[in-house]
Amino acid sequence: MDDVKDVILNYISGEYLEEGSDPITYDTPLISGGIVDSFSMVSLKRFLENRYKISIPDDEATPEAFDTVTKIVELVKKFVK
């Protein structure tokens, strides 16, 4: 899943970080760190669903589950067949 990790990390860096921001790592807090807010989480979820052809139930799409790239990869793994 290393490739998945990098795909997600690159997507978040490109979409949610402002130019000149400090780079994020796999374990940078995204939601609790204020990089991705709860409204933007919807577009991140949509990206994961489109890219990996999965459906993430709303009750699994919690701020905690989306808080780092590592946690997001774990979540994606649960639904990829």
Partner: protein
């Protein structure tokens, strides 16, 4: 004993002079919110009391006493004055919830300038229209948000100074950028406070309407009289309270009750500058022993979603009083909070334009879950017949919530938009744009908006603004934006679009459009649902009929379609 005591007793012989007396203010004297929130508290001998307990992402903590915020706001005020900023110049605060935002607002007010707080998640277009409208001269921001300012700088000739509060020297500063470090500046112990009077402008908050661009709501220093008393009587802040208002000062709650209310009352307040998570919030309450918590229904519903098990992991016994604002608080949330926290969240109702709480539930008053409560003493409210603009005499009728102007924190104008301001009044009533009914006991019950404005998570989004931005996407030919129900945010933005020739509907295009709006306007304005349609319902004159789309989303009767183009 609560500060308000008996609501019924307070209604008798109420006069705003109660607040003026508590604040030692006499009509005609100078009144400056920046001074009242810092210097005055120090003069009362409370300079060593903690004013702000701040925690940032990663657990970084900062503490400021009232002496600290007095000196720090003097320092910011002096820095601005040295740059040539004069009274009534507009100074925008465009930052996350960092201490410089809270203290900077006092500094701006102390020199008589007008503070214009803007939500830091705004995209460059949202930022541009607000700075352009206000002809803002200065923006105080962080290096992470500076790129958004740089993108629009060429179109903002009035913007002379971009102050970066956390410049680290890593990248060279660009045109008009100036570094400022609160920690490294020489503290200014004494600052000449600009002699603002009751009607001197203080704040400019932007709000969205159904049509046109966002409107700048102008408030004055006298608003303090309302904000102070409602903080005391509704939020019931007391001397030893540890207060937490979760709102961002980019929105009016975050200034009226996240800065002015608590600090004018000399209370210790906490700020958590980190994204939402259930555990983080409970941990924060436990750590700082928060006693008064003012939050929003969206956050409460998110906490409910997190379950009750997690609540038991934390000691939340410090909580004494809870209140909520932003959108109607559903009865389930009130019942839930009573069960898990042992106290109900008391719903409060007000708007950017009203500047302070208008209708509310009060400590000690019987709570009817789901009700907005009753008007604050001194506030004349009514539900008007939408045809005659006269108050309904019978109870139970649904009409327009209206307020008799005259309370201290009422907006004084929409910035450079006299026509929009005049349109907010009928028959001597201020029209809130919301609908409600009143029951036999005088409790108000919220029904919904009277216009197309979308209230998502307690923030108003203009469908017009989103529709206009959508049309800037190369694939979109036409757009219509309405609200759609959402279990957490009450409602969210939904867009209906037709595509230009050569573009085909796809899930990837949908995501691209969502992100386009998020970056351009804000995450709040981003459509959370998007539907491709062949055509949009229009009147014969070509006007898009949003109400038909809205009715379908909400499962309501579509109503009269006689003017529909293809009917």
């Amino acid at each position: 004993m609560s500060n308000i005591g008996s609501y019924e007793e307070r209604l008798k012989n109420f006069n705003w002079s109660i607040s003026e007396k508590e604040l030692d203010y006499k009509p005609g004297q100078n009144i400056n919110i920046g001074w009242y929130c810092s210097d005055r508290i120090c003069r009362q001998g409370k300079g060593d009391k903690i004013a702000l307990l701040w925690e940032g992402s990663g657990g970084i903590e900062k503490k400021f006493t009232y002496h600290d915020i007095r000196r720090a706001s003097n320092t910011i005020g002096a820095f601005l004055r040295d740059l040539g900023i004069k009274n009534e110049d507009r100074v925008c605060l465009f930052m996350d919830k960092v201490p410089e935002l809270y203290i900077g607002l006092l500094g701006i007010l102390k020199i008589g300038a007008i503070a214009q707080p803007l939500f830091s998640a705004f995209g460059d277009e949202s930022l541009f229209v607000r700075l352009d409208n206000a002809q803002t001269t200065t923006i105080i921001t962080q290096k992470k948000h500076a790129p958004k300012v740089r993108k629009i700088l060429d179109q903002l000739p009035c913007l002379k100074h971009i102050i970066i509060v956390d410049y680290d020297g890593k990248n060279p500063l660009k045109e008009r950028e100036i570094p400022f470090s609160l920690g490294k500046s020489v503290p200014v112990n004494a600052l000449e406070i600009f002699p603002t009077k009751a009607e001197s402008p203080s704040l400019l908050h932007y709000t969205s309407g159904t049509t046109g661009q966002p409107k700048g709501v102008k408030h004055v220093h006298y608003a303090l009289i309302s904000q102070y008393l409602t903080t005391k009587w509704v939020l019931d802040v007391q001397e030893d309270d540890i207060y937490w208002c979760t709102a961002d000062p980019g929105w009016v709650t975050g200034t009226s009750y996240g800065i002015i209310g608590p600090w004018s009352a000399g209370v210790t307040q906490c700020v958590l500058d980190a994204g939402f998570s259930t555990e983080a919030w409970y941990r924060f309450i436990e750590k700082y022993r928060i006693t008064m918590w003012y939050s929003a229904p969206t956050a409460i519903r998110s906490l409910m979603k997190g379950g009750e098990e997690i609540v038991r992991k934390y000691d939340l016994s410090s909580l004494r009083h809870l209140a909520s604002v932003g959108e109607p608080l559903n009865p389930e949330a009130i019942i839930w909070s009573e069960r898990v926290f042992g106290k109900p969240f008391l719903d409060t109702y007000w708007q950017t334009e009203t500047g302070s709480i208008m209708i509310s539930n009060y400590p000690g008053m019987k709570i009817k879950p789901g009700s907005m409560g009753k008007p604050f003493p001194g506030i004349a409210a009514a539900v008007l017949n939408p045809k005659t603009y006269e108050p309904y005499k019978e109870t139970g009728k649904i009409g327009l919530i209206a307020l008799k102007p005259g309370w201290p924190s009422m907006m004084r104008a929409y910035w450079n938009n006299e026509e929009a301001y005049k349109n907010k009044f009928r028959n001597g009533w201020y029209l809130t744009g919301d609908r409600a009914s009143i029951d036999k006991e005088g409790y108000y019950w919220f029904v919904g908006r009277d216009d197309d404005v979308i209230n998502t998570g307690g923030h108003l989004v203009s469908p017009f603004e989103v529709e206009s931005a959508l049309l800037e996407h190369p694939a979109i030919a036409e757009s219509a934006v309405v609200s759609t129900p959402d279990p957490i945010n009450m409602e969210v933005v939904k867009a209906f679009v037709t595509l230009k020739p050569g573009f085909a509907p796809s899930v990837d295009l949908e995501l691209e459009i969502m992100n386009f709006i998020r970056r351009k306007l804000s995450p709040l304005a981003m459509p959370q649902a998007l539907e491709y349609v062949d055509s949009l319902p229009k009147t014969r004159s070509g006007k898009i009929m949003r109400r038909i789309l809205h009715a379908k989303e909400w499962g309501e009767e579509i109503g009269d379609t006689s003017t529909l183009e293809n009917d």
